[in-house]
Amino acid sequence: MKKTQVQTIVNGRPVEFLCEPRQSLLEVLRDNLSLTGTKEGCNDGNCGACTVEMDGRIVPSCLVLGVEAEGAQIVTIEGIALGSGLHEVQKAFLEGAALQCGVCTPGFIVATKALLEQNPNPTEHEIRFWLANNLCRCTGYDKIVRSVQAAACRLQEEAPA
């Protein structure tokens, strides 16, 4: 199949790749760019493991074509940590033991970051609804919800008044 050349920005770095028109962004990230932190859980938009940020919105990368990334800004789990260290959401997940096997975790962290950017002080109800598209089979979600609450506090403390 003929390949298309795509130029995009991933985790702040300009990248170029060749992909088949049918390849998903998830496949491109994992197979062409070796960014394997983003996971495939279902490949049909039902689990959220493949969640990445694209132009400021979160998307299931299994439902986005690689060619759609042309000119876009993509952030994956590998780009969440800041130069100076972990993102507050990552720190909160670490402290709150919000993960077990870790396969769902990149998706949860990307989704949580987006939630808190939109809604810095979500209720438990709002957190649970926002994260209802992300499946976790290990944790029963309890510690994830607590960690999102903790991340919200951390970010608010950090934010300039």
Binding site: D31, C47, L86, L99, C101, G102, V103, L135, D142
Partner: protein, 783 residues
């Protein structure tokens, strides 16, 4: 400081790599020159295979090879069943890695394509022409053993894989003399484990040396090495199995699978590394399922609520072939637990394992024990209802009284320790049970339908003495091993045979070593999952890794401590008997300030300049720990639900879990295991079901159709505990990985039935979909 390490909820050391996307799971691996395999799977539940024409596929772009069973003849042995249940008339049907002349479930592998890319491999699947001659399928578990059912395997009559019985006490007398008898038919629906990481294998073969490395999503790499060697003929010493990061298993990554052996075959045949990763729909079709029982059970009791006997017949669906450990699940791990937390003098159960044209069934979190707990806990509630007693009261009346060093039950097991009444009391106090009942009364007056459900359980885990493994036909040992190695700089390497996959034992094991040796857990590295650099171990299932592997590790650390004491005595010119130890410091009694630290001793042992007579250089020890008995964690759970009588919708309002797994090494990790386990059990009660149609097509074949628990449908899970050490375990610990699942399905089920009580609704089969509940409510109304 260090002894405080035991019992502290320190952060998991696994997590930094997992939260940054840096961890490497099997599918994340890419090897130079790696090819990709895709499996052609049967679209029929039962069919004869005629001609297979792969010529178009073979000439497709990028395709390197296509193989069918004719190619693997002689090179691959059948996929083995390794639990040879004795005294059960066990009939093991041959499970070829690639189907020979018949396919017996949708998803069975018929051919494999190897290509340069994954897309090319999957594209080529569509170019293979297979002539299928469809046959009638045996799907319904209640019919599958009958005379008219289609037969799966020519030589196996009545599709019966085994017939197993457990008996203790005089059941006939118990029922003849009973004041009351209650009966239920319970359907334990088929479940799909759904580890978030699907299964994957990467095989790399070096022809020159005959060495094979297999990276595999497995809970037990050493078992994979053992069985893969038998199936592929690669000698065990040339076979390295690596379980890298493994993304959950819940039992579905215990078995060895045809697809993995086929991947190995391709790599050997082609001399290039081959990767195979299943899609989610393949995972649902072909990775093992769980549960699937039809249970007919009855309880005999006195008028005041004393249970005098239990009698049950269980038909257990095994799927089309017997998976690796399958025969032991609905029998040993189920029937032997039928006394539960109760003193029941007479028990009898018959289990019929039946072949059906469905995906093979294996262990799924709890594995046999949730099905046993459910039977008992449901029947206890039915009995309470019949006698108009409170369900908590009936439980209390029948509990085995507190014991701390062994209690025999009618099924032949000896439980280790327990105080079941204390657990229930603490739970009910925390929940304000009387208050909940009063609120329920009030709500009912207002036309609302809340329900309260209890489940009290004991489970068997920490599998188990190897001698027992042999007696029950398990084709392996059940010990675990550990090596502890002190480096000259005082850092510690731990090598374990067990292979955790999300449970956090890199952390808890470091805590055990830290507590035993007075080092910082930061200085302890735990290595697992690679058969080339870890000692043999039998794997992570049956909540056994901390219980059995942790014991091996603690005993190894104690050996190190003993050796250190001898060296310290020598260095301090004192008698060994005069030495004392505290938190990593060895000193002569009364002078702790003039001691030698364990790091000093590690350096000396490694350089070996001045060692006592007859003491070997180095500081390293190992242990193979074979437990003297199983461990028996227990607990009491409470679920609070509310049913909307208009729509049949069930809302889970509150969930409280009290579990006793003995002393907790890391309470944060324990709570996480409880949360996850509880939610999986809730999933069975409320949402999950693998549905096949009568032709054997899997209708719930994607995450869109198979309803998994999601964050918005769940309340906080409240976690409580009591601490009853196991008398026979070096650390007193029991297991916790499956406890939540074992208890929670029954608690939620009982809560919903309690809610429906004023509506006179008949029993509902799980899961409680709104439609089923609504229909039951209509029936209760006489509609």
């Amino acid at each position: 400081m260090s002894t405080a390490m035991f019992g502290s909820g320190i952060r998991r050391r696994e997590d930094p790599r997992l939260i940054t996307g840096a961890a490497s799971y099997t599918d994340d691996l890419t090897l130079p020159g790696m090819l990709h395999a895709a499996m052609l799977r049967s679209p029929h539940a039962h069919a004869r295979i005629g001609a297979i024409d792969a010529s178009r596929a073979k000439s497709a772009r990028g395709v390197v090879a296509v193989y069918t069973s004719a190619d693997t003849e002689g090179a691959l042995q059948p996929s083995p069943c390794a639990w040879l249940l004795p005294d059960s008339d066990l009939k093991i049907a041959e499970y070829p890695c690639l189907a020979k002349d018949t396919v017996r479930y949708v998803g069975e592998i018929v051919a494999v394509v190897v290509a340069e890319s994954r897309y090319q491999a999957y594209d080529a699947l569509e170019l293979i022409d297979v002539d299928y001659d469809p046959l009638p399928a045996a799907i319904d578990l209640e019919q599958a053993g009958g005379p008219d059912a289609p037969r799966l395997h020519a030589e196996i009559e009545g599709n019966q894989a085994f017939h197993w019985t457990v008996s203790g006490g005089d059941v006939d007398a118990a029922f003849a003399n009973a004041d009351v008898i209650v009966k239920e038919r319970i359907l334990q629906q088929r479940l799909i484990p759904t580890a978030m990481e699907t299964r994957s294998a990467v095989a790399s073969y070096t022809r020159a040396s005959g060495e094979l490395t297999l990276w595999n999503t497995t809970q037990n790499p050493h078992i994979v090495r053992f069985l893969c060697s038998l199936v592929t003929g690669v000698p065990e010493d040339r076979l390295r199995v690596v379980a890298p990061e493994v993304g959950g298993g819940f039992g579905s990554k215990i078995a060895v699978y045809p697809a993995d052996f086929v991947t190995v075959f391709c790599a050997m045949k082609l001399g290039s590394p081959v990767k195979w990763t299943e899609t989610r729909s393949e995972n649902y079709q072909a990775t093992t399922h769980g549960r699937n029982h039809v249970q007919d059970v009855e309880l005999a009791a006195t008028n005041d609520g004393r249970i005098t006997g239990i009698r049950a017949t269980v038909r257990a669906g095994m799927g089309a072939y017997l998976s690796t450990a399958a025969p032991g699940i609905p029998t040993i791990l189920h029937g032997l637990m039928l006394s539960g937390v109760y003193d029941i003098p007479a028990i009898h159960e018959e289990v019929y394992g039946l072949y059906t044209n469905e995906t093979p069934v294996e262990a799924y979190r709890g594995a046999g024990r949730p099905e046993a707990t459910f039977m008992l806990e449901r029947l206890v509630d039915v009995l309470a209802d019949k006698l108009d007693m409170d369900p908590a009261e009936v439980r209390r009346k029948n509990f085995i009284p507190k014991f701390d060093d062994g209690h025999d039950v009618a099924t032949g097991l000896t439980y280790d320790s327990g105080d079941y009444e204390q657990a229930l009391d603490k739970l009910l106090r925390h929940a304000d049970y009387a208050g909940l009942r009063a609120e329920q009364e009030e709500a009912r007056q207002q036309g609302r339908y809340p329900g309260i459900g209890l489940s009290t359980y004991v489970e068997i885990c920490g599998l188990g003495p190897s001698q027992v493994a042999g007696a029950i036909g398990f084709q392996g040992g059940l010990w675990e091993s550990a090596i502890v190695r002190f480096h000259p700089s005082g850092k510690v390497h731990v090598f374990i045979g067990a292979s955790p996959h999300g449970q956090g034992e890199e952390t808890t094991f470091a805590q055990i070593v830290a507590a035993e040796l007075g080092v910082s857990p930061e200085d302890v590295k735990v290595v697992h999952g690679d058969t080339d650099n870890t000692p043999m171990g039998w794997g992570t299932y049956g909540s056994r890794t901390t219980a059995v592997g942790g014991a091996a590790l603690a005993l190894t650390a104690r050996k190190i401590r003993e050796k250190c004491k001898v060296i310290a005595a020598h260095l301090l010119e004192a008698a060994v008997e005069d030495m004392e130890y505290e938190d990593g410091n060895f000193f002569v009694k009364g002078s702790p300030d003039n001691g030698k630290t364990i790091q000093d001793i590690a350096l000396m042992a490694n350089v070996s300049w001045n060692m006592p007579e007859g003491v070997e250089s180095g500081l390293e020890a190992s242990t193979f720990y074979d437990p003297p008995n199983f461990v028996f964690p227990y607990g009491a759970h409470l679920a609070l639900v509310e049913v909307d009588a208009e729509t049949g919708q069930v809302e889970l309002k509150r969930y409280i879990a009290l579990d006793d797994c003995g002393p907790q090494i890391n309470p944060t990790i324990v709570a996480g295991q409880v949360h996850g386990g509880v939610v999986q059990g809730i999933g069975q009660a409320l949402w999950e079901e693998a549905v096949y149609d009568e032709d054997g097509q899997l209708l719930s074949g994607s995450m869109l159709d198979y309803a998994l628990p999601r964050a918005d449908k769940l309340p906080e899970i409240e976690v409580l505990s009591t601490v009853t050490p196991s008398p026979h375990h070096p650390l007193g610990v029991k297991g916790i990985g499956e406890a939540g699942t074992i208890a929670s399905t029954a608690a939620v089920y009982n809560a919903v039935m309690d809610a429906l009580k004023p509506l006179n609704a008949p029993a509902v089969d799980m899961p409680f979909t709104p439609e089923r509940v609504w229909r039951a409510i209509q029936k209760g109304k006489g509609n």
